[in-house]
Symmetry: C2
DNA sequence: GCACGCATTTTGATTAGTCAAAGTATAAAT
DNA sequence: ATTTATACTTTGACTAATCAAAATGCGTGC
């Protein structure tokens, strides 16, 4: 059985993976808040267990086995978040931290019950897709408020910024997955984007924050 | 913050405490499935943190601080068990193991929500009392099927045997806290007890098993 | 009053995970 | 082609938790 530390490494590698590029030690170290030397040491361990392929000084990639474990952890994380918000009425800005601990303690049996209780949801409260029990994950590529067309109405799909502060702000402004919004202006030099919500309210965001909000054209589902 | 190992030691000491007697190394070691030497080592550590008083070669006792932590863990354990049975419809024979892991991962904030969702229950599915958030625990002394009067109807209060096999058997036989039952015969030499349920069904138990079922006179609540 | 048995304590070693700091490879820049 | 910046790897050390096995203290019985 994978320890909860191993689960965290695998999950981080999955989340930092884009396409089939290798994931660097630095990225993993940053994601987990450890020094790079620690990551190198752990990567040898994971490679021995055939959970990753390690190309020294280049990076790592999950094997199929490693990927399945990582997806299972991610599934737990996101279902727990959904449960905490939907059933226990907690605020979406606080559930990430809770799920971070619970994802390692909850069994598949309990998770299946929670999944059923929630009606087999496909996304969590932040709009992140929930991997299926079989390990399928929707990896659709979306525009963000930093890249989408101006003036066209779009549907909010996902908020990838996990900081509690930003999420609290977003909720107050009704910037929530499912809402329909429209980019009014985007000023490169100023690094700012203004968007208008369904309820006519106008909000201004920095480029970094705008980039963390994924959207799809309003008719897509 | 107490590690989850420390929480387990404190919880075990609380559960093995009777009156104000000291708890021996052997009891703790047995309860946790470790060798006695390991317990001695850990007791020094806990004593330094003022979580227990350690009387070498005699035993240990929880301090007020240690007791509060232990009660909080026990509260989590029992509320989680109740949640798993009441909300997720799991079998009471399987929830102990689940709660054993979850009790260390769940925050007080989440626990309070679960407590409210369940309607602030006073006992878990096995009839074990749930400590209050303030750390009050009902330590009532009860008769058991091995000691109570013959023929008098009694109400089942609690099943202290945690083995999954016995709990499955108990559930099939409707030996569940809340039920009213009556001891028909008790044979010391044979070490057996027969009881009759509300529905006239008769069940025979060994002395050890009978002793794990606590009862109160049928009118008490 | 002495020895015996037994629980407890001590000692030395192991594993998982981590850091600080020194050493090394490599791609980019001159 | 040599230098340099930077990321990666290695090394040595530390903590928490554990075990096996040897050493120790102590109440009981004789």
């Amino acid at each position: 059985m994978a320890t909860s530390t191993v689960e965290d490494y695998l999950k981080t590698i999955l989340l930092k993976s884009t396409g089939d590029e290798l994931v660097s030690m630095g990225k993993i170290a940053e994601g987990l808040g450890v020094v790079p030397g620690t990551v190198t040491t752990m990567m040898k361990n994971l490679a021995e267990q055939a959970l990753i392929e390690h190309y020294p000084r280049q990076g790592v990639r999950l094997t199929e086995r490693g990927r399945l474990i990582a997806l299972n952890v991610l599934r737990k994380h996101r279902l727990i978040e959904t449960f905490l918000v939907a059933t226990l009425k907690m605020d979406w800005s606080e559930v990430h931290v809770e799920a971070e601990r619970l994802e390692h303690a909850i069994s598949d049996a309990v998770l299946d019950r929670i999944d059923a209780l929630l009606g087999n949801p496909e996304t969590d409260p932040h709009g992140d897709p929930i991997p299926s029990r079989q390990g399928k994950l929707d990896t659709g590529i979306y525009d963000t408020l930093a890249t989408c067309a101006i003036d066209a109405p779009v549907r909010m799909v996902r908020v990838t910024d996990q900081s509690s502060d930003f999420l609290q702000f977003a909720e107050r402004q009704k910037l929530i997955p499912g809402e329909t919004i429209r980019v009014l202006t985007r000023t490169e030099v100023a690094g700012s984007v203004t968007v208008q919500l369904d309820n006519r309210q106008v909000v201004t965001l920095g480029f970094r924050q705008a980039g963390s909000i994924q959207v799809a054209s309003a008719g897509t589902g």
